[in-house]
């Protein structure tokens, strides 16, 4: 299930719904990205229609490559505040190793290959976050 939304979402409720829809999996691995406290706000934009299609295609390939039962991505766009979830990604498989490896690959891809752009607001300063800069939404972004 792939969803891009401009509204806050509850990652725990979404993950529970994902888990309840599973039939054969013995492992669910999930990652929630949240806005760190050092920025006042983040603004995320995407390429409507294109970003969704690219994530769906990548998730389909992941399912095949890793033999997943299911994969999920929910990604926020718009303006969000510290503590709010930016992204929830999850992978489910019969055994844990496939789900862990698939989720790691998915998150690396989302960081660098999915068309999202992130603007950080701190006081009066607006700064576009790009690879090589420190990302208040999660890991340091790097190639």
């Amino acid at each position: 299930m792939i969803r891009i939304t401009d509204r806050a979402f509850d990652p725990e409720a979404e993950l529970a719904a994902f888990r309840h829809g599973l039939r054969v999996s013995g492992a669910v691995v999930a990652m929630t990205g949240i806005v760190r406290p050092e920025s006042d706000a983040l603004l995320l934009e995407h390429f409507p229609g294109v970003t969704e299609a690219m994530i769906a295609a990548f998730a389909d390939n992941l399912r095949t490559e890793f033999g997943l039962e299911s994969a999920m991505v929910i990604h926020r766009v718009g303006r969000m505040l510290p503590g709010e979830a930016i992204v929830l990604a999850a992978a489910a498989s019969v055994h844990r190793k496939a789900a862990i490896a698939a989720l790691d690959r998915l998150m690396d891809w989302l960081k660098l290959e999915a068309p999202f752009w992130k603007l950080e607001e701190t006081g009066n300063i607006r700064r576009w976050i790009e690879p090589g800069s420190t990302d208040p939404a999660g890991d340091r972004v790097s190639f």
């Binding site: 960081k111 660098l112 999915a114 999202f116 790009e130 690879p131 939404a137």
Partner: protein
């Protein structure tokens, strides 16, 4: 006629999210960028930077791709991605 779209910091720099581009014949990407930027040399430099990727009709091309732009195409200029 074709159309150009700007995202992220390129939209800030262009001052708009996109606009129609009169195009009667196919153009190489470099010529298309020059037509889009017009007299704005700063915008031309930004669009031409190696980190900028291009999508044609919703397909994001590999870095360094050099597509031919045809009348009717929608061309998006994409700064480095930062998702997740």
């Amino acid at each position: 006629m074709s159309r150009v779209l700007f995202f992220g910091r390129l939209r800030d720099q262009a001052g708009m999210s996109g606009h129609p581009v009169p195009l009667a014949v196919p153009l190489g990407l470099a010529e298309f960028r020059e037509q889009v930027a017009g007299s704005d040399s700063g915008l031309l430099a930004a669009l031409s930077a190696p980190v900028i990727r291009v999508a044609v009709n919703g397909t994001v091309l590999p870095r360094g791709a050099n597509p031919v732009i045809r009348p009717g195409d929608e061309v998006a200029f994409l700064p480095p991605f930062s998702g997740g």
